[in-house]
């Protein structure tokens, strides 16, 4: 990833993190809260690959935890893994399918919620699984609504990587 593209991705994730903690965290619709950081990270990771995805997830999580004075490293840990995982999917031929960003957002919303729940549980903190799962479906819906415009913006700003740039592209069958 070129320095310019790296800078653009960093700015996108920074703005997403600030908007998330300041604005989107207050949007409660049917018990769900949209997660702009997650949707933005999916866009960056799908277009740039696993390593940029993991780095982006780490720093986006760090900004969220810092801005909210939360448990430092918690969001970073889960977003790093999420960014890497989506980036791996982006390195397969499956990324070109029209539904790839939507599928990724839906799956990663579930995995992110479960991941944060597990980390809270492991730390011995309150882990209200019922509340989390009740808000999951609306959160998936809200994140899917955000996906189209956010992915279009990320795609416009970050040129998709040429297939030849991937050292280990995986051919998906079916």
């Amino acid at each position: 990833m070129s320095a310019l593209n790296g800078f653009k991705a960093a700015v996108l994730l920074f703005v997403a993190a600030i908007l998330q903690v300041s604005i989107f965290a207050q949007v409660h619709i049917l018990g769900g809260v949209p997660d702009l950081v997650l949707v933005m990270l999916v866009g960056v990771a799908l277009l740039r690959g696993s390593v940029p995805g993991a780095i982006g997830g780490f720093f986006a999580g760090l900004i969220v935890d810092t801005a909210t004075l939360g448990q430092l490293g918690l969001t970073s840990l889960v977003l790093t893994i999420a960014g890497y995982w989506i980036g791996r999917y982006g390195e397969t031929t499956g990324r070109d399918r029209a539904h790839a960003p939507f599928t990724s957002v839906a799956v990663i919303t579930v995995l992110f919620s479960v991941g944060v729940l597990v980390v809270h549980f492991v730390l011995g903190e309150r882990a209200p699984a019922g509340d989390v799962f009740r808000g999951l479906l609306p959160a998936i819906f809200l994140n899917l609504v955000l996906t189209a415009p956010v992915y279009a913006l990320v795609r416009r700003l970050l040129r998709p990587v040429d297939r030849s740039d991937y050292a280990t592209e995986v051919q998906l069958l079916g």
Binding site: S22, S50, G57, G73, S76, R126
Partner: protein, 273 residues
Amino acid sequence: MLLVLVLGALALLTVSFRSPTSGPLHDVQGYGSAALRPFQVAAERVARPFRDAYGYFAGLAHAKSENEKLRRELRDANAIANANLANARQAEALKKLLNFEGGATYPKDYRPVNTTVISYPSSSFAQVVTIAAGSHSGIRVNTPVITADGLIGRVANVGPQTASVTLLTDPDNNVPARDVSSGVSGLIRHGQGSTLVFDRVSKDQIVKRGDLIVTQGTIDRRYPSVYPYGLSIGRVLNVGSTDIATFLTVTVTPFARFDSLDAVAALVSTKKR
């Protein structure tokens, strides 16, 4: 690279978990939070008119029929009102807060640090908001935070220019409280929905519907309470009991509206430690 980042995150998590309110990492986080504060404030200000406009139109959805002239007038009025609504709402909240701070019920030995909420609970794990004032304004961990309506919580973590406030609706927050009418003491904790529970009140005590619940304050100087006496919390909604329960079930409606917090004040103790 993934391994390095995961180990980095785990290291941060470990250090942060071991000393959540002090230490070098906490200081760095505090300064980081202070650096991000202008961006958060800017984002919040940009979003406020849209949020107010959304709230306004959501309310209008239930309106039945209006003639064309009234609709046109309404659209014009809305355009003007939306532009001023954000400032007007904040001014109203600040005015109420100022009246409370100048009133007779304001606790002695405390000075108010007036500020605003800049971020809201982002998950169901903790009922925490971030306020735009921190240790530079004298705020410390456990500083009580109020609105003009009543107590909303206490400071859980503090940076130089920001602080996180654990709300009364957080399950980890228990506040020693008192029924003003009967003098009965108990603990305020979160309840179902938007209500609170006045807990630890034995069945032989008398608590009535409509009674005012306030903070209990310090009973014994050796064990000072973080909350001064007399901060309004809410009014008793209903009182119940069962044969097997040791305590009464007292539901309290809080005065503060936790879903629309804006102007708040942190009560900083002026007593020398």
